[in-house]
Symmetry: C2
């Protein structure tokens, strides 16, 4: 019966819609039609349906199937298990063979003890409570340049009202600072009107997916392995993820031949590929793209008419001297492509970098290369959520315009930043070496970002055991690791991997003094695991 | 050709999906299938398609049609015009017959000069920069109880890390405070596990729409007039807005007979109505529901198997002694309905009330009456965005647990709160009286919320003039009002109204000393407008 009703509904809705008839062209009258379309009695009236009260009004089966399809491994099953173990440990210390849970599943630096940059927090606190700005005690507590910066920021906010909704794209003055920061970084102009401030990068990604995906025939090109935000967002918006495989053998290289092959395959299947996601530096893979490779990617998008969605949230996280971050905007501009030539969206976040301010939910996207009409639609979607949080907006402007040489805070700022980045580089190297020393494990270098993504060659016996436990082999390994050591990693199957290969993602974020213990617990576990299952 | 491809795609996708074959039942392997489904070469291969490069890759026509359908009047055309006029005034002072733009289009109190509650801002600043908490100067700048409260909050956050992602539902300790606040308000138990902290109430509303709407055959019952977030969100998620009309003649009464009639009509059209939105106190209408009326609504939802979506963000904004706010949860519990009996979601925000902290993007939904399996899906959707901003989370806990009698801040807190609410009540009354004194205008009392929604009886000549200008008559009136006075109101057609009637929404938020000038400008404009068009 439900099926019949649904079909009927579609037919009826079509009739209603095509009958509707415009008197006014203003946008508000379109809306008026949208909700009065149901108001006139229908021409034919099937018998009334009372709802079936024997089941609850909402069941999993009656939810949006796109929601059911969506998955987000970074906070999935393994994290639920970790939370359970943590509760056990609190209730019964000593109930497990470890004293604490080490969350290496998520890029959440401050949860593992990383300290925020003092200057940033000073400015945020002052903007939260401007009443103290001209009190004498304040000068004893805050640096002179943080006080000055807070005044500057407040002056950019109409009425100095940090508690007001801002422009839907974010406060104009803050967008000016961000655009200036992008120009300084790239050496090419940036327009504050191209900046959309968002609550972290995730809502910006969702916004672009919402705009581009019309149906499951629309495809979004994503690297495999990928950050599961992309697969989740594509599933939620009802599109199709079109994979391109990064080449593990060449340090997670991105080959244009692979893009071509997969594009061809997708098109043969009737998929309209609309956009290409590139994550640089890579998540979960940690590679940093070479500029030449980036040029090829830009050329490919240009030629194939794809929107380039550049996830550049790890732009400050580079750990090897031979690699440098180049934004895709800089690369495309240096190739001579202007704003009209290629639609390009760059995502940035305050959650990563040396700042790691995940809880502040700040970020932005720089949107270039779209027609004014399309831009208007992007603005409309942004405006439905009113604006992103002002503290996050302020912080996004601060990370793009930190203290400069000569500012009172510069030295402490630089030493905090440098300390964090140097330490991350050391941690990455230590963990990488440790992983590479394990039997059957190989791990590419983390050139950037915050993760290692080692490949584990699991013995057949372990794979069979996993199948018996109805788990993917890497999920089985990760579960055993967690139960034995308290270390939480995410199985590679949550990110995608070449079928038949197994990986896990492990952040490089635990505090440096904890790394030796982690290495020894991991080594110990792996040795025992292999002893148990070696073929 | 595109159509053919789309059809082909659907067929092919169906084939691919039905062929896929599970080895593992773990959730991560489902994901693996999702993105490897495109990986094997197709069985038959139509010729390769190159994209058409004569048009840009993204045009309005190639965007998601749901996005195109979505409208959001509160930040629509009229606001763009206001921004343009504001720029004019800055560039050429005196270029318009007014000195400033008065934004009465949006409930954004601090943009119009409302000051934040000192205690709340003290706590936020201290949590942003905990390093100053034990400095001696801090005691000279902050109240003792704000320092104490900041410590309490920091102790509830693992590692005191306000810069870390929290649990996807929000920090547990803050949810405990909120649940305690709900219990104190309602006299019935509240469970912190039912609280989902969100970046304002809007994302929470989107989340519920995303879960409940499967297709355009799913309907969401909304009051008309309604807050356009609902129509926008339903359009974005591809559902159908099923209207029920509030009765202007009885002070925007909500009649159960109207609900029954509209439900019947919708069902006859094949719509499965899934949820009922109630906004109490009303937006844009300002009425406060009587408890008896709320009981009838609960009973109706229970009988008809509807989820009750209770927008209760104006719960602190009540201006008449004869009315009181009762949460729908309290009402349903007092009727004897427990957690298993009725699915009910209550939305709350830090943006409204006497606090008006719109820029902080804090809020929560209290989710009760769903099965554990459905709850898991809600949690999953929340987790894809990681968490809401921590300052907003802290503020949401503060508004639900403000200073108490005896706390150092209590007196200043109470006097700030009382001052704001008393002033809002006076402003509402003055504006209401002024509107009612205008020719052809009637305006119901603002018992609560932040808006007046007067009905304007426009002369036929004005309606014809509007038609000639291709505008809805109320949009025409609002545009003329803006051009003549700088006052920004939102045309009633953005909220929905009985066809043939015309209204506008005007906030009661301009500063009290500005109200007389607003009244006189509005009165003057209206008189001239009527003189120009009177039939």
């Amino acid at each position: 019966m439900r099926k019949f009703v649904a079909h009927r509904a579609k037919t009826l809705l079509k009739t209603t819609t095509s009958k509707s008839n415009s008197n006014y062209s203003s946008s508000s009258s379109k809306l008026a039609r949208f909700f009065t379309s149901l108001n006139s009695p229908p021409s034919d009236t099937p018998p009334s349906m009372a709802s079936d009260l024997s089941t609850p009004p909402v069941t999993v089966e009656s939810l949006n199937p796109k929601v059911l399809k969506c998955e987000y491994a970074v906070r999935g099953e393994i994290v639920s298990l970790a939370q359970k173990l943590q509760q056990d440990l609190q209730a019964n210390p000593g109930s497990h063979p470890f004293e604490e849970i080490l969350y290496c599943n998520i890029g959440n630096p401050q949860s593992l003890g990383q300290q925020p940059i003092t200057f940033f927090r000073e400015v945020l606190a002052l903007c939260d409570h401007p009443a103290i700005l001209d009190k004498s005690e304040t000068q004893g507590l805050f640096s002179a340049d943080s006080i000055e910066r807070a005044w500057q920021i407040l002056d950019q906010i109409p009425g100095r009202a940090t508690g007001a909704y801002s422009h839907s794209q974010g406060i104009k003055g803050l967008r000016d600072s961000i655009a200036a920061g992008i120009e300084a970084r790239d050496g090419f102009p940036a327009d504050p009107n191209d900046i959309f401030l968002t609550d972290g990068a995730s809502p910006a990604v969702h916004m672009m997916m919402q705009l581009l995906i019309r149906s499951e025939s629309d495809g979004i090109f994503c690297p495999i392995p990928q950050y599961p935000l992309y697969s989740a967002s594509i599933a939620l918006h009802g599109g199709t993820l079109v994979p391109y495989y990064l080449d593990e053998a060449t340090g997670w290289g991105l080959e244009i031949s692979e893009l071509k092959k997969q594009l061809e395959t997708a098109r043969q299947k009737g998929i309209t590929v609309r956009a290409l996601v590139v994550i640089n530096p890579g998540n979960p893979t940690g590679q940093v793209l070479a500029e030449e490779n980036q040029r090829d990617i830009v050329e490919f998008c240009k030629k194939e008419g794809l929107v380039l969605l550049a996830d550049e949230v790890y732009q400050e996280n580079i750990y090897v001297p031979e690699k440098q971050f180049h934004s895709f905007k800089k690369v495309s501009r240096s190739m001579g492509y202007g704003d009209k030539d290629i639609p390009l969206v760059s995502f940035q976040s305050v959650s990563k970098g040396y700042y790691g301010e995940c809880g502040k939910r700040g970020g932005y996207m720089e949107v270039t290369g779209f027609t004014p009409e399309v831009r208007e639609q992007i603005y409309k979607v942004a405006s439905v959520n009113l604006c992103s949080n002002i503290s996050g907006q302020i912080l996004a402007s601060l990370v793009m315009s930190p203290p400069k040489v000569g500012d009172e805070s510069y030295e402490s700022y630089f030493s905090e930043k440098d300390g964090i980045l140097q330490s991350l580089a050391r941690r990455a190297k230590t963990l990488e070496d440790a992983l590479n020393s394990l039997e059957g494990v190989t791990c590419n270098k983390a050139e950037g970002a915050m993760y290692l993504f080692p490949r584990i060659r699991l013995p057949n016996k372990a794979i069979k055991e996993a199948e018996a436990a109805k788990k993917a082999p890497d999920a089985y390994y990760a579960t055993r690791l967690l139960n034995a050591t308290g270390i939480v990693v995410v199985p590679g199957s949550g990110f995608g991997q070449v079928p038949g290969t197994w990986h896990f993602r492990c952040t490089i974020l635990p505090q440096e003094e904890k790394i030796p213990a982690i290495v020894s617990r991991l080594t110990d576990f792996h040795k025992k695991f292999m002893d148990e299952f070696r073929d």
